[in-house]
């Protein structure tokens, strides 16, 4: 019995802490030889002061006018996780994602939170459009998630800008990616309340809820 247990522990130890990919890209959006490459770069993770978090937080991007999509996520379980490229005090962790995509018109249209026993997303899609050109790398920002209460509750992302930090991370990890340029997202407010600017107007009530003060 003990031997089996020890073996199992060993196997888990060897197979465990399995590193997962932070991105998924549909085959139709994967760049090929003739199409050119545009990069979408950002960080997805858990907000440092968040008390309640989901196991998996995901941003979903699709090509406009089609169902082809790409996702970026932070998965956080003790035996399987995406890389932690950013780590702050408290609960703050973040995965840097670099998505090579075909150039074209895209939109950030939904998100997904996996709580283990349940999954939540925005029932209605939103449209946060952006245009990608070949040979450029776009910085979409830092998206950090938190949930309002434990269990199957509402979760949301706080968006912030850390271009300098993330440029340095990209240069170290993905030297083939060109210099980052900031992606303008004037439509981000339309994803209220699922995505808020961290330092934007009326964000303080969300921050106090996520940090457990309310």
């Amino acid at each position: 019995m003990i031997r089996v247990f020890a073996l199992l522990t060993l196997l888990l130890g060897l197979a465990g802490c399995h590193s997962m990919s932070p991105i998924h890209i549909d085959e139709e959006l994967t760049p090929n030889a003739g199409s050119g490459v545009a990069y979408v770069v950002g960080v997805v993770g858990i907000w440092p002061k968040a008390v309640n978090t989901a196991q998996d937080q995901m941003l979903m991007i699709r090509q406009r006018g089609s169902d082809n999509f790409a996702t970026a996520r932070l998965h956080n379980e003790f035996y399987a996780r995406t890389p932690r490229d950013v780590r702050e005090t408290g609960h703050g962790i973040g995965t840097l994602f670099v998505m090579p995509l075909k150039p074209g018109r895209y939109e950030l249209y939904n998100l997904r939170f996996d709580h283990g026993s349940s999954v939540s997303w925005s029932r209605e899609d939103f449209t946060i459009p952006f245009q990608l050109e070949a040979g450029k790398a776009y910085y979409i920002g830092d998206f950090r998630a938190g949930c309002v209460t434990p269990g199957h509750s509402t979760c949301l992302f706080l968006h912030s800008d850390h271009l300098e930090r993330d440029s340095a991370l990209v240069r170290a990890k993905y030297p083939q990616v060109p210099g980052l340029q900031r992606l303008d997202l004037p439509n981000l407010y339309s994803a209220t309340p699922f995505i808020r600017e961290e330092d934007g107007a009326s964000s303080s009530v969300y921050k106090s809820m996520l940090s457990g003060k309310l």
Partner: protein
Amino acid sequence: MRTKALFLWLTLLLGGCQATHTLKAPEVDYNQQLPAINVSVMGLPSWMLRDELRRRGTFNEVKAGRSADGYNVLVIANSDVGALQPQMFLSAFTLFLVPVPVSWDSTLIFSLSHGTEVLGVYTVHNQTKSWRGAFNASGGQFEHVQLIADTFIAQVLKDQPFRREALKNAAGI
């Protein structure tokens, strides 16, 4: 072998993967671009219709509600999408394994306006017959609404109300 084939045939028949619509899928180029619209819907789950309009990416943006200075689309629907269907109780007795025939019937009036001026009124009618059960949980409702949304987009692309307004404004100056 024969029983297996019969079983497969029966499953396919009862599964009723096929929904039939009175509307045909329009053949238009959805990559054309139209301005942003604000859509408010009465008589139909509004998120359903807006998501199907967003899916094509033809309108620059599809927002909820109304705006004072933008383009508004008021949708008045006479539809049974999202409504309770009593025959589903029959299916429920078999744990939804045996599907029941359902139909969806919608008439939607889309009124496109800019400020106080109405640019166009479009009517779309669709009737769908389908089977609903565990293998087809929505009973073809989403396809039904998708065809309606696509037909509306096709009608607007054909009618060109935005260009007509621009021409009229240009003539006024």
